[in-house]
Amino acid sequence: MTRRAAGRRPGLAVGRAAFLAARILAAAALVVAAAPASLVAGLGVAVAWRAGWPPGRLYRAALCSLPMLVVWLAATAAATRSASQVAEAPYLAWLAMWHRGAAGSYPAAAAVIAPAAIPAGLAAGGVCWAYRVRSMATGSGGLAPDSAAAFDRRQWRNQARSAQARIAAPGAVPLTTRNDDLAAGAVIRAVGHPARRIASIPYARMRSHQVVIGTSGTGKTTLLLRLWAGFMATALRRNAAGRGGPPLLVVLDCKGGADARRIADRVRRVLRVAGARSTAIWPDEAGLSLWALPPAQLITTLVDLIEHGTGSAAYYADVLEAVVGLAVEAPGGPPGSTADFLARLDSGWLTIAYASGHHDAELALVRSAARQIGDIALRFRTLFRRLGGGLDGPGRFGDSDAWYCILEGTAEISVAEAQARALVDLLASYAAYPPPGPGPSGGRREILLAVDEFSAVSRRLPVWQLYERARSLGLAVQISAQSWAGLAAGEDERYRIAASANGGVWLLRTPRPEPVAALAGTRQVTETTRRLLRAGVWAHQGTSRMRLDPVVDPALIRALDVGQAAYIYRGGVTYVQVKRLVAPPAALQARRVAPTRPAAGHMEARQPPPAPPAGQQPPPRPHPQPAPPDVGPLLDEAFGAEPSS
């Protein structure tokens, strides 16, 4: 280094400092000179930061306020009839603003400059906010190295708070929108999806398969209720307009227990508001007839209800199928009830049924299987005793707009599996052979099968088979589970279910979201060492490279709050604050009688009352009717006091 160069360095530093100071002063002067627009821009940035808005929101606000500017300019043109006056109008308004401000007339000053300052300020605010967001996204902004991460966390909090405020406003989130979309709640953040205020999905996606994953207590039921009610309301509206068949919602609640009954009551009330005429609760209040299945399907279903092995046990499975086939396809027609079917599982009955002389092959079959028929009858008798009377009822799926089927998957897994299998077969049969009906759909209904807590029955319910033929039947399947592992027994089947979810995947807080998050794919992110000089201007020193980041951040999913969900669809994700549906009060409940404390131990108190013998109805219990409370004061208020008679 030469002495001359060393002597020049302090001078260079001073020069640079002076240049920087001049730039700051010039920028400050510009900000002060454009004070109205600067003020609006500052306010815009502050609001966008506080509410977690994307920059586009400020641009849209600027666009929305443009008519004010246009009207003001038009009024100026009409008053002055001079193009130069119109061109000078913003400058003259700016001058007038300062004059009136100096005179202490601040409202008048604001009114004079507002038409020009508001659109310009909002646009400038949008640019500043975009600069800030972009610099943080590339990691080049902020004072500290971890500023970008802290900024993202703060933005998430702000966006979540803003979304919560949005759903709290009455009427802000309708159940459905005008173009048949289902509104789920307010958008918190969107990646790869359009950033709208309201998170809505087209009705067509409810007609495709969906998957919902979330642990208990994360708002899964609230989300499902909203989706079901939205499906019902939209489908009914489309049906009324002649654009589709009437809806049918079938929910299989595979948990069972008192909780399922409470949810069933809530579902009924919510669906009633959505327009459903009736919601049947199976098996508590309504029954379905397994015996309405076509004979061939009935044989398959009955055989599948009985758990049988493979390998050497295949022999037994073949005998079982042959005997069931003989009982169902007997010359007198298929059985009409459980009792009828069980009565046929008798070698004597089968011999007489096929003794007409035209069924020699069947008679030979009866003779060769005679030793096993008793065992088969015993197994079916045991099975139907455990299944209860829910599958022996007179009803069909077409009798109601919605069915809420409660399967005791927690208490009796094998029974729940068999029930689920039978119900799905019944539904598939109903979808494949709908009863004739009026209208262009000809009785074909738009069916949504929702299986809640699928893990309880996933071992024996071949939903992926149903998935593959469901679309042609007009049947959409919605599977929900508490975790990825709860979706199905094997990893292959899980991926198959999730990958077939054309209608999207709803992900709530769950401890292991990685497999589902991976389904959303990745997005290209630029990683750069170049410096951001100012808005849109980057230094040429440094390099950039493309990096693939996951669209869904598993850490964010693990940290989701109650009522927050991520909707994954086509390589994008929308984080949603789900709007809770408030149902009107229960219509059928009479005054509840407080449960009396049992004298014996509480375990005995939990036992259900003894079931009546098969085929016998329980005797009706007289309902206590206490004296009704006096409603006179209310009626006096509404209709006037009654004259004493």
Binding site: R277, L588, R591, P622, P629, E642
Partner: protein, 254 residues
């Protein structure tokens, strides 16, 4: 609600009739509603298909039936009177109209099945003594026979299922009744018959309340020289007769 007359619309909106007329005109401009003078008194307004869709109501669009104008007006007056009562608001009562009940039944109303003019539901946690109850509301303008009225009362008091439920659930022994009580709002002409019918019920009569229809429930008297002549010749309570001539017949169970 099938339709509403202008004065009731003004009362529901809490505005003057002129303002209500302007509001209805706005709805008409957006094709959400239709208005017409269907009978004596102010014009009637009812929702079109677009209006029903905008309101999220799954009903078939139709103008109010001429034969039922008086009855619809009476039921609307009952609803307005009830909703104006402070205890009703405090209890969070929910009015479920006959139209909604019929919509739920989807045209499956049995020939002899009676649908009340409305239901009022009270939330379980309402701060009123009758919380959790469901009431049936009946507006009576003309007397049916006492036996028919008794049969309707019995039907309402013993029903257990919701409207539109499976046929097997309509009346299930052992289940609590759907309607904790039935409120009859009667015109003077119908009151005696309703009282006789209630007396025939025995112990269940405690669940029947009878009141007079509120002011404003009657249709305005028809104008014109012929109507004036008829009014001069009519007895003092003839203001109800005008309404009675248009309401549903005694055997009509709609």
């Amino acid at each position: 609600m099938y339709g509403v007359q202008l004065d009731h619309l003004a009362a529901a909106l809490g505005v003057s009739e002129a303002r209500a007329r302007a509001v209805a005109a706005g709805w008409r401009a957006r094709r959400h509603a239709e208005s017409a003078r269907l009978g004596p008194g102010g014009s009637w307004t009812w929702l079109t298909r677009a209006g029903l869709a905008a309101a999220g109501l799954p009903y078939a669009p139709a103008p109010p039936a001429l034969a039922r104008l008086a009855h619809i007006r009476a039921v609307t007056a009952v609803r307005l009177a009830l909703e104006a009562a402070p205890r009703y608001a405090a209890g969070g009562g929910y009015w479920r109209s006959e139209r909604r009940l019929r919509s739920r039944m989807g045209g499956r109303v049995g020939l002899r099945e009676h649908v009340p003019d409305a239901e009022v539901h009270w939330p379980d946690d309402a701060p009123v003594a009758w919380a959790g109850e469901c009431w049936a509301i009946e507006a009576e303008l003309t007397p049916k026979t006492a036996s028919r009225t008794t049969a309707i009362m019995r039907e309402l008091l013993t029903r257990t299922g919701d409207y539109g439920c499976l046929a097997a659930e309509v009346r299930v022994p052992g289940r609590p009744p759907r309607h904790a009580r039935v409120i009859y709002l009667c015109a003077p002409a119908a009151r005696a018959t309703v009282a006789r019918a209630r007396a025939a019920l025995g112990s269940a009569a405690a669940r029947i309340e009878i009141r007079s229809l509120p002011p404003g429930a009657a249709m305005a008297a028809p104008s014109g020289p012929r109507a004036k002549r008829a009014r001069r010749q009519a007895p003092p309570s003839a203001s109800w007769r005008g309404a009675e001539s248009q309401q549903k017949p005694a055997g009509d169970t709609r």
